[in-house]
Symmetry: C2
Subunit: 187 residues, 2 copies
Amino acid sequence: MPHPIAKQDFPVSNVRHFLEPGPIVLVSSQWQQHTNIMTMGWHMVMAFSPSLLGCVIDAGNHSHALVCNSGECVINIPSASLVDKVVGIGNCSGSEVDKFKAFELTPGKSEKVGAPRIEECYASFECRLHDDAMIERYNLFVFEVVKAHEAPSADEEESLHYRGMGEFMLSGQSIDRTELFKPSMLI
Amino acid sequence: MPHPIAKQDFPVSNVRHFLEPGPIVLVSSQWQQHTNIMTMGWHMVMAFSPSLLGCVIDAGNHSHALVCNSGECVINIPSASLVDKVVGIGNCSGSEVDKFKAFELTPGKSEKVGAPRIEECYASFECRLHDDAMIERYNLFVFEVVKAHEAPSADEEESLHYRGMGEFMLSGQSIDRTELFKPSMLI
């Protein structure tokens, strides 16, 4: 069984460290008393400061309405050990299932948003809706990350990357090319 | 030395197979007689059909003007063996360097756009600018993939995923969870 992971603060300007490599994430949201979790693969970093993320949340997802109504969510990164929960969460709808209960995940209190964090994930980014102009046309939400949390173990965690058709890629080894970069490019 | 890789057609609706896992890509562009290549990590899939991608190309990049003026580019995926070229391309500006020559990469003729493909990459996606409404505010380009090419070896290639600060993650092993998915979710 996965267990809650203690986390520490992390600069919001540096969420690219975790998100630019393209992991599958779990989006947790809350509106009034309704919480939900969705599995999301379509996201990207858009700016460092403010720390902006672009995410596609299809209008067919129960989370779409929760995020639109609350203007908030938390983006959580599950380790590869949670893969079966990640698939299960994507398979069902929050309109029918209480996903925190059904998947035995722990909602943790966020600091700056009302949506709960997922305690079993190794990194969590509290987000506020920054720009809703592209939601109607593309289901594209632009969020600002207002608080970031990472586990001390975060850099050793294995992330999940989705290829479609039921196939995931796991994160592999890291290689350091610092010495090849112009100093001004090292951000 | 890397060498040109023969490629075959691939359905444009399925570029998520390569891009959703979040690899670093090389964007090739052309306007009049000027070609360029840039290294890009901020991209995401936005829709299957039409096949839409969102990409952030900072206005400070030489490629920004080439792509704005031509309304086209090619998104190419380099294997991990090209990592030193990937860094080198990101370190310099196309306003000063002919990157195809400097990095000994082969421009290949595209089928549907004027911008050249990069023959040494294992997948190439020819793109037309689909929506320019978010360029001014976010440097966000929405492209439609109009033609996709993959090497027969593409599924065995190792991709590069950038973490910032000179550190890359390599793609790791694949795991298959097809049997856990609801059939309707297997896309």
